[in-house]
């Protein structure tokens, strides 16, 4: 679903702001991903990308839990397109200028509603004047440095967006029903600046994903752990760095088993930490729970590990993004005994996005 089509169907779906209490309607707002703040919007703004038809779209989970498809970009790509302003029948749009901004934003859990722009590029599209008829502005951000990926986490959301500003900024809508604690996004923001009437703003989210090269050093993880006279195991994962469609291979070797083990699981855990110093906030989430073994092994038994990462919603590891947050992944090997006691060992792994993936 592209914004072009939503833009065209705009008039029939236009809702006055005082209806914002109506959640159903609010949903619709969010679904179409465009924000309208004006009581009487004078125009419809749509943003299209030059290669919008061919560009890959990836699903992104919105605040309300719905999936939308957003175009995908990579760092160093040129982001170009058109901004189309269509005044409604018989209306003219007076403005003090039209600009498009490319923003990289972070929104934090503890600082909700406040987007911190870590990237901001501006293109002035028009000098102050009036728009009577449909008008298209091409824009281009050549070779944009977008070092961070879009990230929707428990704590962080990072987004890039292109934003139009048109009259009243109504970003407060984001505060409704937002369950995401951290947003890291890229967005294009188009702003039609007006004086007293307030600016008209339009946003277009897009997704940034960055590929990493194959890590030059990728050692296996091998470790012997245990509880004295109780349980000794040695486990091995074939690598310490996995790409997102990788498969974790390894084995768990039982050196000593004196407890009655019921089963053994391998968990993938994600740890988001935001803030710094005293403000550091850490959230850990178990993304995968994969049973490796059923029943009690005996000494000398070696249990194979083979975990495909594909089915899980993973992102690359992020280290200290803009001094704001980090995302780390851990493999947690958990042994559960018959009294449901858990014995575990957690090992950090690095996740990265490999180039030759399909997404």
């Amino acid at each position: 679903m592209s914004n072009n089509t939503t833009g065209l169907s705009g008039p029939t779906r236009l809702q006055p702001p005082n209806n914002c209490q109506n959640l159903r309607r609010l949903d619709r707002f969010l679904r179409y991903n465009y924000l309208r703040g004006a009581f009487k919007p004078a125009c419809n703004i749509s943003i299209t990308f030059t290669d919008g038809k061919n560009r890959k779209q990836v699903p992104v989970k919105k605040d309300n839990g719905q999936m939308v498809m957003n175009p995908l970009f990579h760092s160093q790509e040129t982001i170009a397109g058109n901004v189309c302003i269509e005044p409604y029948q018989g209306k003219k749009v007076e403005h003090n200028g039209v600009k498009v901004e490319l923003l990289g934003q972070i929104e934090m859990y503890f600082d909700r509603g406040n987007f911190y722009d870590f990237t901001s590029l501006v293109r002035e599209l028009d000098v102050p004047g009036e728009i009577y008829e449909n008008k298209a502005y091409p824009f281009e951000f050549p070779t944009v440095e977008m070092p961070y990926e879009t990230y929707n986490g428990v704590n962080v959301r990072l987004r890039y967006l292109i934003m139009f500003v048109f009259g009243i900024i109504s970003e407060t809508i984001l505060n409704f029903a937002s369950f995401v604690f951290v947003i890291f996004r890229y967005v294009l923001k188009v702003t039609v600046t007006r004086g007293y009437a307030g600016s008209i703003v339009e946003y277009q989210d897009f997704v940034v994903r960055n590929y990493s090269p194959l890590p030059p050093i990728n050692n296996s993880i091998k470790m012997e752990v245990g509880i004295e006279d109780c349980l000794h195991i040695e486990f091995e994962y074939n690598k310490s760095k996995y790409h997102l469609k990788d498969v974790i291979l390894g084995k768990v070797y039982f050196l000593l088993v004196r407890i009655k083990i019921k089963n053994m699981d391998l968990e993938i855990r994600r740890r988001e930490s935001t803030g710094a110093g005293a403000n550091t906030h850490v959230e850990t989430e178990t993304l995968a729970k994969f049973e490796l073994m059923d029943g009690a092994p005996v000494r000398g038994e070696s249990i194979p590990v083979r975990l495909f990462l594909t089915p899980y919603d993973l992102t690359p590891t992020h280290k200290n993004i803009n001094n704001k947050f980090s995302v780390k992944y851990y493999l947690n090997l958990v042994l559960v005994d018959e009294e449901d006691r858990r014995y575990f060992k957690q090992q950090e792994i690095t996740l990265y996005r490999l180039k030759d993936e399909s997404s």
Binding site: N263, A288, K289, F290, E291, L292, M293, D294, G295, A296, P297, V298, E301, S302, I303, P304, R306, F308, T310, P311
Partner: protein, 807 residues
């Protein structure tokens, strides 16, 4: 948790499980119909999750498993058809591995794996290897066993064995073997592990449950046995060592016993033969582990691995194999099967002190059976086995176990049956030593068996040495053994035994008189120890055997009689005399008398007058001194008369003495009719119808007259005592004698004598008008008269003679 549950609970849980499977299977079918892969995977995984239960006993779990198994078949059909789910099978193979729970994941993986192999998009060996490796994740014994048995089942027709479509450059039969071996190893480990689960109190139940599961494990060996292309080399180098390693190392009695049994049953005989050493080495290593377990659970008495059964089975199989075709025998020789088996058994017996004697014996029997089948020509092997047996038997106190005894009997009978010839058995030096260890009863049974074997096969024992051995073997029958309570013996059995011995004596024969004499001496020596109860049975055959020798010597004539030859009739008669003498003291005078008479006759045939005379003397002495019973006397005197009549060796003087004695005794019999008959019988002593026979007609007539007198007296006595007529029969009998002698030409018998006798009889019959008597004597008399008339009519020389008799 399960252990505490009752049967009802289990039923309930099973029902729940089945219901769960049915429920999810319904949704799975719907998804299958809709070709919705995602839903299919979701519901099939859900369905398979029912198998994750720990609450069921193996039996019940099997029920549940079978339900799921049926559903998996449909799933497989779906996976096979790419057009239905739209994924290449390789992707499918990955996709099913996304399942979070291992058990459903593995069942699905196995199912897809089998489709994967079938599609030939990957080398079957790789897929198989992957599957068998990944199954390691299920360590729960029962769940793991069933999972792996599922794997074995779906992969059975996809192994890259020779001739299979899955065999190719990269996939060799070795891969198939490797796969099955690994699966087997893992299954066995799981199976063995069941015993370590749960408390010891339910151990018995657990063992029972384990037993129910054993076929799941054994199935793998079965498959191994069936894989096409496992040649001897591979079997020897790979299959057997790996399997045995597992068997030995699992240190579990149940498993070891069952698996050894499997190995022996599923692989071909010739493989066993060629790998005998390995196999036997493993056998001797069993058990060792079993003992250590005992210490863990001292309260439970564990059955130790029955090595003997395992070995026995092995040997039985090899024996049958050897018996199946003579062509394979050289293979046995090649691998020195006997030596290896023998060694192994020795080792087993030595190391397993606690093995009951019956076990050791069973082993020996099997080994012996094997030897007899494979090396029928190697008596030394047989002897060796018996020797080992003796050693074992000597190490224990007197054998009392009835079963062990039975085994020993079997051990001893085997050579008899095989060789059908006791002679062979007699050359086995250890044979008697084994017999020594039997108790008396069994010893007798065994002796009987030996005799029966001889009888059945009509084998002739022809040297004194062998006879010596043989009698040593059957001494239980020959004499009372120490401590035997003779009272307990059943009379019928005893007779049966002794009759057998008697029959046996007849089987001892040698053409060579010298040797035969030796045999007789040996037999005599043994028999003489038999005691009073046995002698009456055993002496007669011995005597007759000796007499046969005598006659043989006699028929050969005197030309063989040299100075140094001991086998002379004279010598034999001396022996006989001594032998029978013993018998007379038993006391068994009638029998002794008969034997004396037999000997006398034989001596007479040999022209040994003194010997014959001596025998007669002995007979008469017996008659006089020992035979008191009047009936016995009658019989004896008739025997004496009969024998004497036939003997023609005596000179006049001796003969007179003897005949005189005989006549004298005849006349002194108690009852008149007996006297009468004996006396007229004596008449034959004087008239032998022979060319050179004695023809003393006068004395014959005298005898007849005397008989008539006695008959008369008898009749008078009868009249006096009972008032009825006497025995006309006697007269008729005497008449017949008259007629006989007349016919034979005794000049002293005249027609008038006969006529007067006939008249006399007629008168007697008339004088007594008693109907009974008349009818009784009538037929005999009438037929006598008819005979006379007939002879008259016949004419000729005899007819002329008879014509003189007027009727």
């Amino acid at each position: 948790m399960r252990r505490l549950a009752g049967v009802e609970d289990e039923e309930k849980w099973l029902a729940e499980g089945i219901a769960g499977i049915q429920h999810t299977a319904f949704f799975m079918h719907r998804a299958l119909d809709a070709n919705n892969l995602r839903e299919v995977l979701k519901y099939s995984a859900l369905m398979l999750s029912e198998l994750r239960t720990s609450k069921l006993s193996p039996q019940k779990y099997y029920d549940l498993y079978m339900r799921a198994f049926d559903e998996l078949r449909q799933l497989e059909v779906f996976f096979k058809d790419e057009s239905r789910h739209g994924l290449p099978v390789v992707d499918l193979y990955e996709l099913v591995q996304h399942a979070g729970n291992i058990l459903p994941r593995m069942y699905l993986l196995c199912t897809v794996g089998s489709v994967y192999i079938k599609s030939k998009q990957a080398p079957s060996k790789d897929v198989l290897k992957d599957l068998v490796e990944m199954c390691r994740g299920v360590q729960h014994p029962i769940r793991g066993l069933f999972l792996r048995s599922y794997l074995a089942q779906v992969s059975r027709d996809k192994l890259p064995e020779i001739g299979s479509e899955y065999e190719g450059d990269a996939n060799t039969v070795m891969d198939a073997v490797e796969f099955v071996l690994q699966n087997f190893t893992e299954m066995n480990k799981l199976w063995v592990r069941i015993q370590h689960q749960g408390p010891g109190t339910v151990r018995e139940k657990q063992e029972k449950e384990r037993n129910e599961l054993r076929d799941l494990v054994g199935k793998n060996l079965h498959v191994l046995g069936q894989i096409e292309g496992v040649d001897l080399e591979m079997y020897k180098e790979t299959v057997l060592p790996r399997v045995l390693e597992q068997v030995v190392n699992c240190k579990d009695e149940l498993a070891q016993y069952y698996l050894m049994e499997c190995i022996i049953q599923v692989f071909p005989d010739e493989y066993h033969l060629q790998t005998l050493e390995t196999l036997l080495a493993a056998c001797t290593q069993l058990m060792v582990g079993g003992l250590s377990d005992l210490s863990v659970l001292p309260l439970t008495i564990l059955p130790t691995v029955d090595t003997k059964i395992v070995l026995t089975q092995l040997m039985d199989r090899l024996s049958n194999y050897a018996a199946s075709s003579p062509d394979v025998l050289h293979e046995f020789l090649q691998v020195e099967a006997f030596a290896k088996l023998s060694n192994a058994i020795g080792k087993v017996i030595d190391t397993q002190i606690e093995m009951p004697i019956v076990g050791a014996m069973t082993l020996f029997v099997s080994l012996l059976t094997f030897t007899l089948r494979v090396h029928p020509d190697r008596l030394d092997y047989v002897d060796q086995i018996l020797g080992a047996c003796v050693v074992k038997l000597s190490s224990v106190p007197k054998l009392e176990d009835a079963r062990a005894m039975k085994q020993v009997v079997a051990l001893l009978s085997a050579p008899l049956e095989k060789y059908n010839d006791i002679v062979t058995a007699l050359t086995l030096s250890n044979y008697p030593r084994v017999m020594d260890h039997l108790d008396d009863g069994t010893n007798k049974v065994m002796a009987m068996l030996i005799i029966q074997s001889i009888m059945k096969n009509n084998s002739c024992i022809s040297t004194a040495d062998k006879v010596e051995v043989l009698f040593e073997l059957i001494k239980g029958l020959i004499k009372d053994l120490d401590g035997t309570d003779t009272e307990e013996l059943d009379e019928e059995d005893f007779q049966e035994e002794q009759n057998s011995v008697a029959r046996l004596i007849h089987m001892l024969d040698n053409e060579e008189p010298e040797e035969m004499l030796k045999i007789i001496c040996v037999v005599r020596k043994h028999l003489m120890t038999g005691g009073t109860r046995r002698l009456p049975f055993t002496v007669p055959p011995l005597v007759f055997s000796a007499l046969r020798l005598v006659r043989q010597l006699d028929s050969q004539g005197g030309d063989i009689t040299g100075e140094e030859v001991s086998a002379t009739p004279r010598k034999i008669f001396q022996i006989l005399n001594q032998t029978i003498e013993v018998l007379s003291s038993v006391p068994c005078p009638e029998l002794a008398l008969r034997l004396y008479l037999q000997c006398a006759e034989a001596a007479s045939d040999c022209d040994l007058e003194p010997a014959a005379y001596e025998f007669f003397t002995q007979a008469f002495i017996l008659y006089e001194e020992e035979i008191a019973d009047s009936k016995a006397q009658v019989t004896a005197i008739h025997l004496i008369i009969g024998t004497l009549q036939r003997i023609n060796v005596f000179g006049v003087e001796n003969r007179d003495t003897l005949t005189h004695k005989a006549t004298g005794y005849s006349a002194r019999l108690l009852k008149k009719p007996d006297q009468c008959r004996a006396v007229y019988a004596c008449s034959h002593l004087f008239w032998v119808d022979d060319i050179d026979g004695i023809k003393d007609g006068e004395r014959a007539l005298l005898c007849l007259r005397r008989a008539l007198r006695i008959a008369n007296a008898a009749q008078q006595m009868s009249n006096a005592t009972r008032g009825s007529s006497g025995p006309v029969t006697l007269f008729v009998e005497i008449l017949n004698k008259y007629i006989y002698f007349y016919e034979k030409g005794n000049p002293h018998i005249t027609p008038s004598d006969i006529q007067s006798l006939i008249e006399l009889i007629n008168t007697e019959m008339q004088s007594d008008d008693n109907g009974n008597r008349r009818t009784h004597s009538d037929p005999f008399f009438t037929s006598t008269l008819r005979y006379i008339r007939f002879q008259k009519q016949k004419g000729g020389l005899i007819g002329d003679k008879y014509d003189l008799i007027k009727l």
